[in-house]
Amino acid sequence: MTGASGTELVVDGVSLIAGAHRLVEDVSLTARTGEVVGLVGPNGSGKSSLLRAVYRVLRPASGRVDVDGADVWSMSARRLARTVAAVVQEPNAGFDLTVREVVAMGRTPHKRLLDGDTLEDDALIRSALAEVNATGLAHRPFDQLSGGERQRVLIARALAQQPSLLVLDEPTNHLDIRHQLDVLGALRRLSATVLVALHDLNLAAYYCDRLYVLLDGEVTASGPPAEVLTPELLASVYSVATEVTVHPRTGAPQVTFLPTST
C-alpha cells in the first residue's frame, strides 16, 4: 500500500504545556521501523497531546520529536506531511465534498500548486479506499456518512498520503467490531511505522508490537503487551480489577474486567 518503507520515530524527553496546565511530562518513546506501537491509558492521560506533538501541531516546551533523526520542527509542515500522516480527532464538515475528493486531499503534500490529479494519484486513491473496505463509498457525499464510515475514509485519506509513519488517535472509535478488526488489520499490513492511541486493551494487545501506558502525562510502563498488561499495572492505572490470561488461539494477552464487588 505505502510505497515508502517505515521510518523511525524517537520522542525524547518531551514535555507539553498548555497555559498553566502540564499535559505531558518528560515522555520518551520510540517506534522502530515497521513497528506498530500502541498508546494506552485512561481519558485525559495525555495520549492525544503526545500524538499532536508527533504530528507537529503542539510544540514541546522541552524535549524533541525526531523522525528518521530529524527534528519535526526543523522542517516545514509540507515536508513532514510527505513522511508522516495522521488521523486526528477533530469535528469536520465535508462542505459537499465526495468521499473520493476527501481521500484525494491526501495527495496534496506530493503536489505542486497547479498540478492536476494524475493516473497514479487515481490508483493510490482507489487502493487506499479498498484498503479500508470503502470502495463503494467513493461517490457518496462525505457529510452523509455514518461515524464509522467517516473514520474509515479518513484513514484512507492518510494512506493516500503514502506515509512512512502513520499516527492515529483512537481510529477505532465509532467503528463496529468488524471494521475495528479490518482497520487494525490494515495497519498491521502496512510497511509504515504506526503509532496508534487505542482505548480497547484487548485490541491493543493483539495488534501492537509494543505498548506505552500513559497516566497523568507520564509513561508508567512500556514493552510488549504480555509484559505490560498485568493485573497489578491495570489496577494502578485504571483502578479496576482484572484478570489477564493468554488467549489459547491468538496467543495474545486477554484482559477480562471484573466488576467491583461489594
Binding site: E90, T108, G136, A138, L154
Partner: protein, 376 residues
C-alpha cells in the same frame, strides 16, 4: 456498509473499480461536466450583459445593442443606423455599470466562497461579518476627512484597511478554543458591523460637507450607478488578482475543509495561509466596496448554490461561483432599475431582500445539523 456489500466489492472488484474510476474522473477539474457548466454560464453571461445593455428607461433592441458594441470594438459588420444618444446610453452609461455589476458579483461570490473555507463556517460572508462595513467606514473616513488626494486609489486603499481590520476583529472575537461556532461568528459579525455602521453614521451626521454626506449615504446602500470607464480598471484588476491567487491556492482551500489540525498534517501552514488569504480577500472586498458600496448576500447565496451543482472542490467551485455571481448581480441590477421605474432601487437592497431569507434558512439547517451531530 453491510457485510454482503463489502463482500461484493472484493468479488466484483475489477469491473466495479473501472466504473468507479470513470465516474470519479467525471468530477475532476477540467472534466466535461465542469466544462459544460462553465460554458453554459458563459453563454448566460453574454445574454445577461446584452440584457443589461438593452433594458432600462430607454429600451434598445438586442440586435442594436450588438451593433453598437461590435462597432465600438472595431468590427465593421454593422452599419451605424442608430442615434448618437443611444450609443451614449449603451456605451457610456450602461456598459460600465453592467461590467461593474459583473465584476462585483464575481468578486463577492469568490470572496464568500474562500471566506467560508478559511473560517470553516458556511455562514461566513463579507457583508454579514462586518467586513463590508469596515470597508465602508474606511472609504467614508477618507471622503469626510477630505484627504482624498489620489481619488479612487486612496478610497480603495482605505476601504481595504477597514475591511482587513474588521475581518481580523471578527475572527479574533468569534474564535474560542480553536473553534468557531456559527452563533459566535454571526453574533460578533453583527455586533462589529453595528459598531462600525454607527461610527460611519456619526461621521456623516457631524461632517460639514453636507452634499458629500448625502451622496455617501446613497452609496452605503450598495449601488452600481455613477460608475464610468475611468473607475472600472481597479475593481477589474482586483477581481483578476483575487481569482488568480485563489485558483492557485484551491487545493489548500480544500485542505481547510478537513479541519485545521488535519490540514496541518497534510502539509499546510494554516496560520500563515489564513493570514495571507485574509489580506487578499480584504483587498478584493475593499476595492469592490469602494466602487459599488456594500452589496450583501451575493457571497452567501452563490457559493451554496454552486456547491449543490458542482460539489465542494474549490477547483470547481471558484470559477463556477465567479461566473454565477456575475450573472446574478447583472440581473439584480436590471431588476433594481426596472421594478420601481422611474425610481431606481439600490441593488444592495434587492440582494438583501433575496439573501435575508436564504440566510435564515441556512441558519436553521446549520442548527439542525449541529443537533444531529450532538454539537452545541
Amino acid at each position: 456498509m453491510t457485510a454482503s456489500a463489502a463482500g461484493a466489492e472484493t468479488g466484483a472488484g475489477a469491473e466495479r473499480s473501472v466504473r468507479t474510476s470513470r465516474r470519479g474522473g467525471a468530477r475532476q477539474a477540467g472534466s466535461p461536466g465542469l466544462a459544460f457548466t462553465l460554458l453554459a454560464l458563459a453563454v448566460l453571461l453574454v445574454v445577461s450583459v446584452t440584457a443589461g445593455l438593452a433594458i432600462g428607461s430607454v429600451r434598445v433592441p438586442p440586435g442594436q445593442v450588438w451593433g453598437i458594441v461590435s462597432h465600438a470594438l472595431g468590427f465593421g459588420w454593422s452599419t451605424p443606423d442608430w442615434s448618437g444618444a443611444r450609443e451614449t446610453i449603451v456605451l457610456d452609461v450602461r456598459a460600465p455599470r453592467v461590467l461593474l455589476g459583473a465584476v462585483a458579483g464575481a468578486g463577492l461570490a469568490v470572496v464568500g466562497t474562500a471566506l467560508q473555507a478559511l473560517i470553516r463556517n458556511l455562514l461566513a460572508e463579507p457583508y454579514l461579518l462586518g467586513v463590508s462595513s469596515g470597508a465602508s467606514l474606511g472609504a467614508v473616513a477618507v471622503i469626510v476627512g477630505g484627504v482624498n488626494v489620489l481619488g479612487q486609489v486612496s478610497l480603495s486603499a482605505a476601504a481595504f484597511a477597514g475591511a482587513l481590520g474588521a475581518l481580523a476583529l471578527v475572527y479574533a472575537t468569534a474564535r474560542t478554543g480553536g473553534r468557531i461556532t456559527s452563533s459566535r461568528l454571526v453574533l460578533s459579525g453583527v455586533a462589529i458591523a453595528a459598531v462600525l455602521t454607527a461610527i460611519l453614521d456619526l461621521l456623516l451626521l457631524t461632517t460639514d460637507r453636507g452634499n458629500e454626506a448625502r451622496a455617501v449615504l446613497a452609496w452605503t446602500l450598495g449601488g452600481l450607478g455613477g460608475v464610468n470607464w475611468s473607475t472600472l480598471w481597479l475593481p477589474g484588476a482586483a477581481l483578476l488578482l483575487g481569482i488568480g491567487v485563489l485558483m492557485i491556492q484551491a487545493r489548500n482551500l480544500n485542505l481547510l475543509l478537513a479541519g485545521e489540525e488535519a490540514a496541518t498534517t497534510m502539509g499546510l501552514d494554516v496560520a500563515r495561509f489564513r493570514a495571507r488569504m485574509f489580506v487578499l480577500l480584504s483587498l478584493v472586498t475593499g476595492v469592490l466596496v469602494a466602487a459599488a458600496g456594500p452589496i450583501g448576500f451575493v457571497g452567501l447565496i452563490l457559493p451554496h448554490i454552486v456547491r449543490l451543482v458542482v460539489g465542494g472542490d474549490h477547483r470547481r467551485v471558484l470559477p463556477t461561483a465567479a461566473l454565477g455571481g456575475a450573472v446574478f448581480l447583472i440581473w439584480a441590477d436590471i431588476a433594481a432599475r426596472v421594478v420601481a421605474a422611474p425610481t431606481e432601487i439600490p441593488v444592495g437592497v434587492l440582494t438583501a431582500l433575496c439573501g435575508g431569507p436564504f440566510f435564515l434558512w441556512l441558519l436553521r439547517r446549520d442548527a439542525r445539523r449541529s443537533t444531529d451531530r450532538g454539537e452545541s
